[in-house]
């Protein structure tokens, strides 16, 4: 479903600030795979997400989605195939527009936008049934401005908007990191539910090791622009945090240095 082959990216090449962000990344996702990604700050997780979404293009290497080479496709064209939820709860929705209008925008992602009304009775019914899944009573507040919602509600809405058109790939970029623990749990459960329902091929970046272990069928660990550890479907169910720590020490010969990564 998703293939990254030989991806390299260097920022500020040939200047004193040169930084190798991604170093020969190879990653294959089968349809329905749910891969969680962990790694300390600066490991290249977000850069990799941006490569897949098209916000950045690689220096070398190819990105293939569903058999199509999309390496040079700009972000707005690629997002036909990709649903994305950002870390910032404010980033995924338009605050001065209503819930219904936001959902309508997400709904018209797949086809070329036309001069026809973004919402009609049939669509509205579909929006309502989709919103019911969130259990936040948003289906009865279709005309409320999204800016009036709380961070957790907005993130839940973003998640729904990113998934309900069944994208080929779902990218979750630390999408629970900015929420308080109870809200984060709500979103985590919702993620599980929506991904399972849609059988979505998913990549999730997280700083929360426990979350990385609990969710998904595969796990990868990144460090210094490389994928240093890949846990497959067979081993994932028995994985624990100490396992991950000792694996890291074995590979890198040093203790894991990110306090944030430890605070699972």
């Amino acid at each position: 479903m998703l293939k990254l082959e030989g991806i390299n990216k260097i920022f500020n090449e040939a200047t004193p600030d040169e930084k190798i962000a991604l170093d020969n990344i190879n990653l294959h996702l089968a349809p329905g795979d749910f891969v969680t990604i962990i790694g300390s700050n600066g490991a290249g997780k977000s850069t990799m997400m941006n490569m897949i979404s098209g916000a950045l293009t690689p220096d070398f290497g190819t990105v293939t989605i569903d058999g199509k080479d999309v390496t040079r496709l700009p972000e707005y064209k690629r997002s036909h195939y990709i649903g994305r939820v950002f870390q910032d709860p404010m980033a995924g929705t338009a605050p001065s527009m209503t819930i219904e209008e936001n959902v309508a925008i997400a709904y018209s992602r797949n086809a070329k936008r036309q001069l026809r009304s973004g919402s009609n009775r049939e669509r509205r019914d579909f929006f309502r049934t989709s919103l019911e899944k969130l259990h936040l009573n948003l289906e009865n507040r279709l005309n409320a401005k999204v800016g009036m919602l709380s961070g957790g509600e907005r993130q839940a809405l973003s998640l729904l908007m990113a998934t309900f058109t069944k994208p080929a790939i779902l990218l979750l970029d630390e999408h629970t990191a900015a929420l308080d623990p109870s809200r984060a749990e709500l979103i985590t459960n919702l993620t599980k539910q929506l991904v399972e329902e849609g059988n979505l091929t998913t990549l999730m970046v997280t700083h929360n090791m426990q979350q990385a272990i609990d969710l998904g069928n595969r796990l990868i660990m990144m460090d210094k622009g490389q994928i240093i550890l890949s846990i497959d479907e067979a081993k994932k169910p028995t994985l624990t945090i100490p396992d991950l720590m000792s694996e890291f020490e074995k590979i890198r010969g040093e203790k894991m240095n990110s306090d944030r990564a430890l605070l699972g």
Partner: protein, 342 residues
């Protein structure tokens, strides 16, 4: 006095089309577009040039709209493809249009390349064409009689046809705008002004949406310019100076008075704002010690007041609300306490 105010209502309704254009960029796209000062004249000069050359006024107005659309798209391209700051893109286009407008008007003269103005004194315009149809209906005489004899005003407007035709045009544009902003494309344009990153992740090309939005906005501005040129029977290279401020004044005054709860209401607010601005303008001109040249200063003061007063009023209102709430609560506590004692 009645006739003078009536004239400013007529003009206000025409300027409302320009104000709707400004609303589209300034509020919906969140793009402070200064092209307006130039594209207003582009509309006026294109229409005036074609009318002077003997073309049908309707066709001339249509071409003015197209010219405005192109001008707006150019500003959009400067910003999106040239990566030039929005304000600067507009300013660059505005001064470029100044020269272009002189050239456009020059097309109407046989012996000159550029012309600073075109008078349309004896030419057919949209309004004169409508008037010849309207005056046969006899409605004007009836209304004039009503005003002079029954209501006792000294003067009456010479015709009601103009106000009717501009009102119909402006309302049609309002309803089209309301509908458009709810279409899939319209929603995407609004989201572009609200959250670019979000709308990009939903497969919308923000660059083309910005170009399209600026094009539509300046098409409306040019339409307004074309109508004003035909209304006042005159197009002039300098008639657009300060137009963006007038547009902003209309948007801000309207929003402050009528609110922005829905799009339907906001577009009504913008149109009313344009009319109210014209009325204030007309009244200010009647004050003896003010000169016509003071109008730019007055416009600036009106905009500043419209920006500052609502904040002040909101604060006062909230303070009063809070005070009321607090005294209510105190009262409840006293009642509760009294019951307890009893």
């Amino acid at each position: 006095m009645f006739a003078a105010l009536f004239g400013s209502v007529e003009q206000g309704i025409i300027y409302a089309i320009m104000a709707l254009g400004v609303y589209l960029t300034f509020r919906v796209l969140d793009f402070p577009d200064l092209t307006v000062d130039g594209s207003f004249v582009t509309g006026a000069s294109t229409a005036a040039m074609m009318i002077a050359l003997g073309y049908n006024p309707l066709l001339a107005t249509l071409m003015a709209i197209v010219a405005g659309f192109i001008a707006g798209c150019m500003t959009g391209l400067l910003h999106t493809k040239g990566k030039i700051n929005p304000l600067l893109s507009g300013i660059l286009m505005m001064i470029a249009l100044y020269s272009i407008n002189l050239r456009i008007m020059g097309l109407s003269a046989e012996n000159a390349i550029v012309k600073p103005n075109i008078p349309l004194m004896n030419s057919d315009t949209i309004f004169s064409q409508f008037q010849s149809f309207w005056s046969n209906l006899g409605i004007d005489d009836a209304l004039t009689n009503l005003i002079k004899n029954t209501l006792g005003f000294q003067s009456a407007p010479s015709t009601w046809g103009t106000v009717l035709v501009v009102l119909i045009i402006t309302l049609i544009i309002k309803f089209i705008a309301d509908w458009f902003l709810k279409t899939e494309v319209g929603l995407a344009i609004r989201a572009t002004g609200d959250n670019k990153r979000m709308i990009r992740s939903f497969s919308a090309n923000t660059d083309s949406l910005i170009v399209l939005g600026l094009g539509i906005s300046n098409a409306l501005v040019a339409f307004s310019g074309a109508l004003i040129a035909q209304y006042s029977k005159f197009a002039d290279a300098n008639m657009g100076i300060g137009m963006i401020v007038i547009g902003l004044a209309s948007v801000i005054i309207g929003e402050a008075i009528f609110g922005t709860k829905t799009i339907f209401r906001t577009t009504i607010a913008v149109i009313s704002g344009a009319i109210i601005y014209r009325i204030i303008y007309a009244i200010a001109l009647r004050i003896d010690w003010l000169d016509t040249s003071d109008m730019k200063l007055i416009t600036a003061v009106i905009v500043i007041l419209a920006l500052v007063l609502p904040q002040y009023i909101d604060k006062r209102r909230e303070k009063r609300r809070k005070l009321k709430r607090r005294t209510e609560r105190l009262g409840e506590q006293n009642v509760a306490g009294g019951n307890h004692l009893a």
